[in-house]
Symmetry: C2
Amino acid sequence: MADNRPIGVFDSGLGGLTVVKSLQYLLPSESILYLGDTARVPYGNKSKKLIESYSTQISTFLSEKGCKAIVVACNTASSQALDMLQDTFKIPVIGVIEPGVNMAIDKSQNGYIGIIGTVATIQSDAYQKALKLKNENVIVLNQPCPLFVPLVEEGWITGDVPKLAAATYLKGMNAEQVDTIILGCTHYPLLKDIIQSAANDGTILVDSAEAVAAEVKRILDKNNLSTEITASGKLECFVTDVPLRFEMLARQFLGSPIEHVSTVDLP
Amino acid sequence: MADNRPIGVFDSGLGGLTVVKSLQYLLPSESILYLGDTARVPYGNKSKKLIESYSTQISTFLSEKGCKAIVVACNTASSQALDMLQDTFKIPVIGVIEPGVNMAIDKSQNGYIGIIGTVATIQSDAYQKALKLKNENVIVLNQPCPLFVPLVEEGWITGDVPKLAAATYLKGMNAEQVDTIILGCTHYPLLKDIIQSAANDGTILVDSAEAVAAEVKRILDKNNLSTEITASGKLECFVTDVPLRFEMLARQFLGSPIEHVSTVDLP
């Protein structure tokens, strides 16, 4: 039985559209409802309690819209609120952390794995715990990179400023011979080239967006939730505020313009 | 008659504490209630409608707490919501824009005045309009500097990254012989040295925090709202969320640790 209900995807802002892009590539038949909590972005410097409350409001919204699964396309929310969401909602809730962790462990040769993300993601230790649970022998290095999100949102994804910022942030990991780095934030895939240049030669970058799309496919297949393969997936977007530079940013993350956007008030 | 009620000060986050610092310096007898809307920071990329709604909620809170005046220590809120607040509330409501504009016009020799701020502040044209209203002959140059706030919050207020960012942002103003630059964001005083070095020699930087403190003093005097000169002003802080790095940031902006902080839920 095909299940034509949409997949719900949410992020604190528009960065989660990089996950939507990967989902559209891997699962072109699936329809997607995206919610960007643009009125309350960023989550990266908010408390766990607040992030849990926002994530519950959004998941309730997506679930009431008839979604068959929810993708938490936000590393901060995945690290702070995923367990709670999985306990609360009956449909599958998929975060970005575990898929990235599994891919990193597969790829690393020397077992030195680096994680870069927002301050909240790094402080949560969610990646470190997930890596150690999967393989207790890996050596994990953390580095918060709070300037990367504003650099991407400013459109400074090439040039000396992002280069210098990346070199500063990666100094420790390079010294420790990290061979695999998890891009632990939905904005970071846009800085992939800069990060690759700043890292030691041959370092593998794990893009969580690609990893999570593969995990969504696996879960849909396993639970008989996939849509008809002949369907043509649609994307509908909701935001909690129409931010400045919305169109430029949306196009940047998604790779194409967004056509259907509605504004929604959350409690 | 002395008026011992406190002055209310608010900002989207903790940056407005630079205004508190200037107020404490100029008016040490005055007590201050500060509200930082840390759950919803930053305002710089939000819509006018949303900023008006947040500003009204906060001003109602401060007014119900018995404040005798309200200082909108946030350039974005001053540019988007000040008129509306002045129409709604009966106590004086003072923004940061007009005081900065008056000081810039006083200081500029050649009439070329630059404004740097968030995207929302610059797009609002509030500074440009206020400058032209005061003196239609001034030439105004605008430059949004969206990376400056995250640089300050990361603590990168010296070194190559902020230097390079400042040089990039000020290129246009330097070419046009701007001789006075308004620091149109409460975070920017912390980057004063970097901005001064990146600007042409002899450029005057107008710190809105100092300008607004002088304006508050003038308005309190004029309306018989000043406290007893023998009083010892107290500071009480409210935040809508306790953000990560709160103590480090508060100390950075205020110049001393914050002692009394409460968390408050706004609607």
